[in-house]
């Protein structure tokens, strides 16, 4: 029996490197930003990704539709990921895989670790594009035992597509966001036959035509249903579900806990950067710029959750902001961080970008909003109490809503959702 290797006493990394722009995350957003930065003449663009293979989430979404907007035809996730990586390399960006960013520092600088050891990379600007993950069984406080075979869609796809391992054959799928249908397609491709799709709400979250899929495949869709308890020792042996007609036991050997996206913002709490409590990601202004203006963000880290194409486009746009920033040509950030922030009222989960700044040719060209719960009423953008944009809606949390960017320097900005009397849907 050998002793564990003993690391040196904790201290900062000894190796110091430099780059013009460091991009954290080689998913669609980070890779498209890399291409744009290189095309706009930025010399050293280094993209860091902690996975052994760059490409982000699409690496394991082995189904279409990806790439229509970016490459002009529809392809599967892995093909799309390879295309993005090849494009970034061809543009002259350096992609370093299996390299984990462990800290963000003023300067700006990032600390990394890889098989080669630790290093600090100093840059002129840093772009965060670390994406989203699904929320877990624990976060949903699902009861019962804790057997193997309770997985997110991402974990399932990684296991079957990348590792060639089947975790179950007859799972239930919890959730009905788009990603649940991604899970469904993954199952179909591997002869896994889901026993049910379970949705706590009254209707499927994803829109037509995906919502027709379970029925077409003969998979019961259980609406208004929750998973009360997971049963089993080493593996799932069954599920207790609470249906509108009372409790029921489902024979299943797994559970796919899908959706409920949250940003992979783990680097923020230990850093000097301000978090947006609504999204859980960083707080940004319309240029994609963080509280430390040498840091930028793009992709799903900013908004759980949009499509790969959306993130790809956003990466390009924020890259242009970075270039303007490097040239000193971006409008100044609002001097007072507290005053320069949009206030929220009503059942709103988040509004992004939250920081107010003279938009100019803003990378994030409108406000994206999500509801905290379904509600009916009037959504409005107000400056000093006066509505400057708004609409009356029957709003659901899974749908994104938009408002125009507020003007800077004209007074207190609020986004308000006034509910119709009593009826909250």
């Amino acid at each position: 029996m050998t002793d564990a290797p003993r690391p040196p006493a904790a201290s900062g990394p000894a190796v110091v490197e430099t780059a013009d722009v460091v991009i954290v995350g080689a998913g669609p957003a980070g890779l498209s930003a890399a291409v744009t930065l290189r095309r706009m003449g930025v010399e050293r663009v280094v993209v860091l990704d902690r996975e052994a293979t760059p490409g982000g989430i699409p690496r394991h979404c082995a189904h279409p539709p990806y790439g229509l907007r970016e490459f002009g035809w529809i392809m599967t996730g892995p093909t799309y990921a390879r295309r993005l990586v090849a494009a970034a390399r061809a543009a002259g960006a350096e992609i370093r895989a299996a390299t984990t960013v462990t800290a963000l520092r003023p300067g700006p600088a990032v600390e990394v670790t890889s098989d080669a050891g630790r290093a600090t990379i100093r840059a002129r600007a840093v772009l965060l594009a670390t994406g989203v993950r699904e929320s877990t069984r624990a976060q949903r406080l699902i009861g019962g035992t804790r057997p193997g075979g309770v997985l997110s869609t991402g974990a399932l796809q990684g296991m079957v597509h990348l590792a060639g391992v089947l975790p179950f054959r007859r799972p239930a799928i919890l959730g009905s966001e788009m990603v649940a249908f991604s899970a469904l397609m993954t199952c179909r491709a591997h002869d896994i036959r889901p026993v049910a799709m379970i949705e706590p709400g009254a209707r499927t979250v994803a829109r037509w035509p995906a919502a027709l899929l379970p029925r077409a495949l003969g998979i019961p869709l259980m609406l208004n249903t929750t998973v009360a308890a997971i049963e089993g020792g080493a593996r799932v042996e069954g599920l207790c579900v609470q249906t509108p007609r009372g409790p029921r036991r489902l024979a299943a050997d797994g559970l796919i806990v899908s959706g409920g996206f949250r940003p992979e913002g783990a680097l923020l709490p230990g850093s000097h950067l301000t978090r947006d409590p609504g999204t859980g990601g960083p707080e940004v202004d319309p240029h994609g710029r963080l509280s430390d203006p040498a840091f930028f963000a793009a992709g799903n880290l900013l908004h759980p959750v949009e499509t790969a194409g959306w993130c790809w486009n956003e990466g390009r746009r924020v890259a242009r902001s970075i270039v303007l920033g490097l040239r000193g040509a971006l409008p100044l950030p609002a001097p007072d961080p507290a005053g320069g922030r949009i206030a929220l009222r009503g059942p709103l989960a988040y509004v992004t970008p939250r920081r107010i700044c003279a938009p100019g040719d803003a990378a994030l060209d409108r406000l994206i909003l999500r509801m905290a719960r379904p509600a009916r009423g009037r959504l409005s953008l107000r400056v000093d109490g006066h509505e400057i944009a708004g609409s009356t809606l029957d709003a659901r949390p899974e749908r994104r809503l938009f408002l125009p960017l507020p003007p800077a320097g004209h007074g207190a900005v609020e986004v308000v959702f006034d509910e119709d009397g009593g009826d909250t849907g």
Binding site: M1, T2, D3, A4, P5, R6, P7, P8, A9, A10, R50, E51, A52, H60, A98, T100, T102, T113, S114, D115, A116, G117, R118, R133, E134, T136, R137, A138, Q139, L141, I142, G143, G144, T145, R146, G148, L151, S152, G154, A155, G158, M159, L162, A163, V165, L166, P167, F168, R169, A228, A229, G233, A234, R235, R262, E264, A266, P269, P277, G280
Partner: protein
Amino acid sequence: MRGVGMESFDAAVIGAGVVGCAAARRLALCGARVVVLEAAADILDGASKGNSAILHTGFDAPPGSLEAACIAAGHTEYLEIHERLGLPLDRAGALVLAWSQDEAARLPALMDKARANGVATIEPLTGAAIRALEPELAPGVVAGFRVPGEYLIDPWSTPLAYLRQALANGAQLWRSCAVTGARWDGKIWHLDTAQGPVGARAVIAAAGLWGDRVEAMFTGQATFTIRPRKGQFVVFDKPAAGLVRHILLPVPTEVTKGIVVCRTVFGNLLVGPTAEEQEGRRHAPLDTATLGRLRTLGEAILPALADHEVTAVYAGLRPASERPEYRITWDADRRFLGLGAIRSTGLSAALGLARHAAELIAATEPGWRALPEPAWPRVPNISEGAARDWQCPGHGGILCHCELVTRREVEAALDGPLGARTLAGLKRRTRVTMGRCQGFYCSEALARLTEGRLTEPMGLTGD
């Protein structure tokens, strides 16, 4: 099965929970040839898999009891040996908080009890003094006292380190080896096990939730009945750990120490445990409503918790019995020692219990000679803030991103006579998948790396 014929040992320890691991270590250090027989595929699969990880002083134990003595002895020995074994220690200290005048009225008696238990360092505190120590605490604390010696430790590496030292000093571990029967031939015990017969001059039963059943195998009738008592927990993500400095304890009742709020040595914050009697000994099912109540209670104590995310939920089963005490059975003639119903303090008391066990048995074994120069193998210190493997080159890349667990750490944990046999065992040794994403990112890499190496693989085998 392990070959033909019966292998014989000086002592057999039944159960590789924290109590069995500590007992095996102590006996091995005493010079005995020890075998540890564990029913499960890996160690720490019973009561020891889910606890609050507090190294108690025993300030509120029944004064004069064996439990109080073992906690005190265990606490002292842990402080002596933890560094040599590579084990962490977070000297958090505890605050016992009274939230009402009624509770405050019970503080003097509790402080007297603490002093009677030899815990002299306690300090009474006013509500204002407590708020100064814990600025994030909700308003309303009336009074309390500080117990500086209540510490936080690693609940899994601790027994692992004990057992590892036992093995390094000659002990053997047989896993997937349930003991199903026993016969005393006048000289030695003949044990029937899932791995064939085993002979032992002495037996220590440390069977946790099955303690009564195992004792009955040896004595014909158990002196107690196990009444499993479940404790559910909610664990918050790392940023929440900064909300508290101390272990926050309520004023305990007769039945339970109550809901604790404290950080963990892994840098999370936990709220729990509940105390719920249940029939089943195997599973500790979670309950959504109870977990929700724990979350609410946590927010009532630390309002800022409302903005923090849950990382994990879990439950443990205390091997309690029908009486609020340890149930120790010693048959000196037949050298059978039952360490039963080590209910809610076993992590703290294990080293003390082990000393007690060794004294009893060694008195019947004059031939034992303590090892003059025992080996002191270290386990990796995987606590938050410790120098970790990811900081050294050659780690093979990070496998679990949330907990920064390296490929090299996982490989090491799968290797050797104490190598992990189950995914749960691997998690307990390394923390893989125990972070905020709970396997979203690393399941794939882990499935590849563990293929063919776990008794219950992550994927299905065959068809």
